[in-house]
């Protein structure tokens, strides 16, 4: 899939019609064949825009005020990205009139090894769920499959799992890249960094990391769209998706097959309930 030209055309049109102040897309990396996000205001740079199966990063992260200062933004979204955007709209972090969305019917992106990325193999919605313009042909919603790694771990013994995760939390350096790369972590100040509160657990110990990552994943439970920005950003290469996919699978199985960001105005599984929710785990 290569939509570079279409995107360049749309981008230049948007700039000439003065529809946007910023454009966010992808550009070729200077020293290898990978791509990096490309945020710019100067139409002259449009020629650098590309989009291929190497356009991995979820650009909705750039809709945070830090980056585009609540201005009008044109951006490219794949299926999962658009779900994140959907949530940002629902949670009124972005004004719909302020974004011009180029939705890509994604055929899956590649991981470092050059294979189709796991989240793309397990992708439920590769078409954009919200867009102004759509590129490619929609392939519709696909069946939900429980993440392979989750299954594998679930079969392990409790102690094995415990050791495995303690290793993960030990290797976390708490740089918070996971958080900052997540489009849905837009809080004015993350609860985990609120020194003022007693909940604050700043120490970079494994208990601190466990505390931070668990809370983070619970704040994303029913909201995470599995774009895996966090994992790409993590310098320690931690398999952060495990926590999110675990929550996602529990939520999918128990709460009316809920998946994050699929419908407009759906705020996620924790902000609604059903009388028929499972009750058997409660004494």
């Amino acid at each position: 899939m290569d939509y570079s030209n279409q995107i360049r055309e749309i981008a230049s049109r948007l700039f000439t019609d003065n529809k946007i102040d910023y454009f966010v897309g992808y550009k070729q990396n200077s020293f290898d064949d990978s791509q990096v996000p490309f945020l710019f205001t100067d139409p002259a740079k449009i020629s650098n825009l590309v989009f291929t199966e190497k356009s991995v990063f979820n650009l909705t992260n750039y809709l945070k005020p830090d980056h585009t200062k609540r201005k009008r933004v044109g951006l490219v979204v794949k299926g999962c990205d658009s779900r994140a955007l959907n949530l940002m709209l629902t949670e009124s972090q972005v004004k719909r009139e302020n974004v011009y969305i180029i939705g890509i019917c994604c055929e899956g992106v590649l991981n470092e090894k050059g294979e189709k990325a796991q989240n793309c193999v397990e992708c439920v919605m590769s078409d954009p769920v919200v867009y102004d313009e759509i590129l490619g042909t929609p392939s519709g919603k696909k069946g939900y499959t429980i993440n392979a790694d989750i299954k594998e771990l679930a079969d392990k013994s409790l102690t094995e799992r415990a050791d495995y995760f303690e290793d993960i939390f030990n290797n976390c350096i708490r740089c918070n890249a996971c958080r900052h790369s997540c489009p849905l972590c837009y809080c004015a100040k993350c609860c985990i960094d609120q020194e003022t509160s007693t909940l604050y657990h700043g120490a970079n110990t494994s208990s601190g990391a466990m505390h931070a990552l668990m809370t983070w994943s619970l704040h994303l439970a029913g909201r995470c769209v599995d774009c895996r920005n966090c994992e790409k950003a993590c310098p320690s290469h931690l398999p952060l998706h495990l926590l999110h996919k675990q929550n996602e699978s529990v939520i999918y199985e128990n709460f009316q097959q809920h998946l994050a960001g699929m419908e407009k105005d759906d705020r996620g599984a924790f902000y609604k309930y059903s009388l028929s929710d499972p009750d058997d785990f409660i004494l």
């Binding site: 020293f31 290797n171 708490r174 790369s181 604050y200 700043g202 970079n204 950003a233």
Partner: protein
């Protein structure tokens, strides 16, 4: 300084490593979650000291750990009583294998700040008790630019012992410092090569290494220019893609910012010192609510200027060692190299 070179081969080197691992508390690059980091090793096969792949974290954590206890405190009716942390886990006699010279250099750079206004005794002990065995690079990595900076990579004394991978399987073990010499002398290494012909070959190897660099800069010029570019609008442009994720600072071998936090249970608690980063949006947030660096271009300016100007001004050395770790780990591939170059280049145009 009397150069002490031992010539050996793969097998000899392996023996040497094994001997060290047997004798000392040894650290070396270990693969975990698909990346390399310096970890405690008990057997040679656990680690890959000769791996050409750069570690994600530098050796910094072994001297300035990601978190460390500063003190304990006990609260009782008689008030709060403080007590020292009895045992520093990193103070033992240690050897680090497979260190890249940029990492080794970073320690020399850090030394200045750690024995500046306040002498960090823990750090000093760790340094004194540690022997650094570096293995020389034969090829530059995609983001490396160590040779363009303010230090002599080849004749650096940042490491105590240096492993040089010569031609046709020859391996030279070179002691650079007193510590290094004693390490070699006390080892059962034999056949001391004549320094001269070895050094010839070593020189040649260095030239090929030197020529393999993709990134080069004129350090002196950039340092000079940046001095008066504090208000350059370029910082905003070069930082536009940054998502302020802090990765660069956390994995940077020379970044040394930290934060303090207390953990309390019942009536006892511990005060921790952990990494922090100036890329963090509220790193400079003050109690009164004022934040001098609320926007990322200011934070980036701070980062670039601190590395290439301020530290230089204060200690006479550059805070960046050109290892390129930040660029490799950056999710949006921003490199401090590009930043300083672009800023100074475009500023040049304006003037």
């Amino acid at each position: 300084m009397n150069v002490f070179i031992v010539e050996t081969d793969k097998a000899g080197l392996q023996k040497f490593y094994e001997e060290i691992i047997g004798k000392f508390e040894t650290y070396a690059p270990v693969e975990k979650f698909g990346k390399y980091d310096y970890k405690r090793v008990l057997k040679l096969n656990e680690c890959e000291p000769d791996s050409p792949i750069e570690t994600t974290m530098s050796v910094k954590p072994l001297f300035f750990p990601k978190t460390a206890k500063i003190m304990k405190f006990l609260e009782s009716s008689s008030g709060t009583t403080l007590s020292e942390i009895e045992e520093d886990p990193l103070s033992g006699k240690r050897v680090i294998l497979g260190v890249k010279h940029c990492d080794a250099r970073s320690l020399q750079v850090l030394d200045h700040v750690y024995k500046w206004d306040y002498i960090d005794t823990d750090y000093q002990n760790r340094r004194e008790n540690t022997v650094i065995v570096s293995s020389r690079c034969n090829k530059a990595g995609s983001q490396c630019f160590c040779t363009s900076l303010d230090y002599d990579v080849e004749n650096s004394d940042a490491h105590d012992v240096r492993i040089i991978y010569g031609l046709d399987g020859k391996i030279y073990i070179q002691a650079v410092t007193e510590k290094g010499i004693t390490l070699l002398q006390t080892s059962n290494l034999t056949n001391t090569a004549s320094a001269s012909n070895a050094t010839e070959e070593i020189k040649k190897l260095y030239q090929s290494f030197e020529s393999s660099f993709r990134l080069r800069m004129n350090y002196a010029e950039i340092n000079a220019k940046l001095q008066n570019l504090y208000d350059s609008p370029e910082f905003d442009i070069v930082s536009s893609n940054c998502i302020s994720c802090n990765t660069c600072a956390f994995i940077c071998p020379t970044c040394h910012c930290f934060k303090i936090s207390d953990e309390k249970i019942k009536d006892t608690g511990v005060r921790y010192k952990s990494y922090d980063s100036c890329n963090n949006g509220y790193f400079t947030l003050m109690a009164g609510g004022h934040n001098p660096r609320p926007v990322k271009y200011r934070r980036w300016r701070q980062r670039a200027m601190h590395k290439f100007v301020y530290y230089q001004d204060r200690f006479g050395v550059n805070l960046c060692v050109g290892c390129g770790k930040c660029a490799i780990s950056c999710p949006v591939n921003i490199s401090i190299f590009d930043v300083v170059n672009q800023v100074s280049k475009n500023a040049g145009l304006q003037n």
